[in-house]
Amino acid sequence: MNNTLTIEAMHSPEFLERLLRVCRHRGFAIVTINATTKQQVTHIELTVSSDREIALLTKQLDKVIGILKVTLSASNEDIKASA
């Protein structure tokens, strides 16, 4: 099951490490990732793949200090439909 997340976070040098570690540790493989930083805010589009419920990841990401917003922007079906 693929899910695409939109994440906004305060910029910090290690932020991407934090994000990727949480994804891996919680059982979500990165399919695609795109990150841009402007004016100390990092904007990330992230597609992950896992058999686990996406809420298990989004709830953990919500707890990461510095993350301002996590939005589920597309689920598997949406991704296929737009492909």
């Binding site: 709830k59 707890k63 200090i65």
Partner: protein, 548 residues
């Protein structure tokens, strides 16, 4: 005032009076500032000991524990303690020195990427990059360590920031905000409780962390709902509360585990459905609807799908959902199970039976004694057979199961509560893992009572090898242990060895009445196992029990 002086000043602003640590090159400016800075520092004899002493300090008081180490090996030695604090949600702030900023990334002497190492074992971590950041970062670290679900926070401070000029910083006045409860969920919770025939409280460590013990006890008094607790929640409920059945899970009481399997409503309070509690998850509380109360939204539906949940402050939630159900038949059944499956202390022969010894110690020790257990069979016997009436008085490495935790945790607890008795209960395997902390006890003449239960084995692993690995005792036989009483005496700690039941009474009195530290070394049979035991992969009602 340089950066290091500023750190000490900022610690005092956070009401820190005691820190634990070990000096080294990259943290020397901070140690210079601590020399006469007005914050007491306790030198532990290994950074892991310092981290665990900070945990013991925090858990025995509810305050933040602070530990300090140098860069490189000093910082890596903290890691196990930080992981322990993360798994048990303990508010700890760790400060590490780092090589000067211009040397970071050059593989400098004693340089390691501490921020990178910290990501998996802290709630959050900081690298201070400029003097301006020092004040805000220290303030944020304490706020993060204590807010919501507490946890460890690391601050890595390069040496040039410590010796450079500081920048004044005024503490922000953070206002606590409390959201009103969702009344629709409150109503639903009360309806579920009111309609339940067999409700059960499953109480976890979050209750103590939320300082919600009084609220929980009032809830139990009002509702008379039966209860069980996790290892970390021991002490939250009075041990003689009429429908309290003790610990649940792998080595929980039989009554607790049977009640879980029978209940029709499980109210999880500050608990997280840990695998050591649930056994086979699919068969845990199979007939129960679940009300889950926990400050951490990530715990909701993580392992068990719940009927309703609330992530508000337990002190606010518990009074709001208090309603007394009509459950006389269930209460009667619980009472009968408690009697039927009560612990037994009759044990044949002269050799010492550790559960009976620990029960006797619990009945003998002064009020408000702090018990710090290590990890292994003795840890489970403490949980099963001793009793305390405050969660701050039972300190055990619950989530990480860190052998070597007991003695340094007792150091932290004794420093925090100098007027209370502190007992470290250890096993011969665990005791050797942080044996250097006897030097810390000697240095400060901390009057810690050490009860060392010695079966010349890594007992819990041996038990599993006996039960699940065909008795192939791979690397668990410790008949070459040192003479522990002689070892303690090298640190000016008096002690004695006992081997038979008739020696117990007098030896416990000497242990408890000693003015300074004391080691009571208790020799027991290697064949004593911890019962009951829910075997791996089994449901909680499939307990293995002693056949004796």
């Amino acid at each position: 005032m340089n950066g290091a002086n500023f750190v000490v000043h900022a610690l005092k602003e956070q009401n820190v009076t005691q820190v634990f640590g070990y000096p080294g090159g990259a943290i020397m400016p901070l140690y210079d500032a601590l020399f006469d800075g007005g914050v007491d520092h306790l030198l532990c004899r290994h950074e892991q000991g310092a981290a665990m002493a900070a945990i013991g300090y925090a858990r025995s008081t509810g305050k933040v524990g602070v530990c300090i180490a140098t860069s490189g090996p000093g910082a890596t030695n903290l890691i196990t303690g930080l992981a322990d604090a993360l798994l048990d949600s303990v508010p700890v702030v760790a400060i590490t020195g780092q090589v000067p900023t211009h040397l970071i990334g050059t593989d400098a002497f004693q340089e390691v990427d501490v921020l990178g190492l910290s990501l998996a074992c802290t709630k959050h971590s900081f690298m201070v990059e400029t003097a301006e950041q020092l004040g805000p970062i220290i303030e944020q670290a304490f706020e993060i360590a204590t807010s919501g679900r507490p946890g460890p926070v690391l601050i890595d401070i390069p040496k040039d920031i410590q010796v450079g000029p500081s920048i004044a910083y005024a503490l922000a006045q953070l206002a606590e905000t409390q959201q009103p409860l969702n009344q629709a969920i409150v109503t639903e919770a009360k309806s579920l409780i009111n309609g339940a025939q067999k409700p059960l409280l499953y109480v976890g460590g979050g209750v103590g962390m939320a300082k919600a013990v009084p609220a929980l006890r009032t809830f139990i008094e009002q509702t008379q709902i039966p209860s069980v607790c996790t290892l970390k929640a021991i002490g939250c409920i009075e041990h003689d509360s009429p429908y309290f059945m003790g610990m649940v899970g792998m080595h929980g009481s039989k009554a607790s585990n049977l009640a879980i399997q029978e209940c029709d409503l499980l109210i999880a309070v500050g608990a997280r459905f840990d695998d050591r509690v649930t056994g086979k998850l699919d068969e845990f509380a199979p007939h129960a609807k679940v009300i889950h109360l926990d400050i951490d939204a990530a715990e909701i539906d993580k392992l068990r799908q719940v009927t309703i949940s609330m992530t508000d402050d337990l002190k606010q939630v518990l009074p709001a959902i208090s309603v007394k159900p009509s459950i006389e038949q269930w209460q009667q059944h619980i009472s009968e199970m408690k009697v039927t499956h009560a612990n037994r202390y009759d044990h044949p022969g002269e050799p010492i039976f550790a559960p009976a010894l620990l029960r006797q110690l619990a009945e003998t020790m002064p009020a408000d004694t702090v018990i710090c257990s290590d990890v292994g069979q003795h840890q489970m016997w403490v949980a099963q057979h001793m009793f305390v009436d405050r969660p701050e008085n039972h300190i055990s490495s619950s989530g990480l199961g860190t052998m070597g935790f007991g003695v340094p945790a007792a150091v932290g607890a004794q420093v925090a509560r100098p007027n209370d008795t502190v007992i470290a209960v250890s096993g011969d395997g665990s005791f050797m893992m942080n044996i250097q902390e006897l030097g810390t006890i000697k240095r400060k003449q901390l009057p810690i009572k050490i009860l060392l239960i010695d079966n010349q084995r890594l007992g819990m692993v041996r038990q599993w090898q006996e039960l699940f690995f065909n008795g192939r005792f791979s690397e668990t036989i410790l008949t070459d242990n040192p003479d522990f009483v002689t070892l303690a005496s090298a640190f000016d700690i008096p002690g004695e060895t006992i081997v038979v039941k008739s020696q117990i009474d007098d030896a416990l009195q000497r242990l408890l009445n000693s003015d300074g530290p004391y080691l009571l070394h208790v020799s027991i049979s290697e064949e004593e196992n911890v019962w009951p035991l829910v075997p791996p992969g089994a449901a909680n009602d499939q307990m293995m029990e002693s056949v004796g």
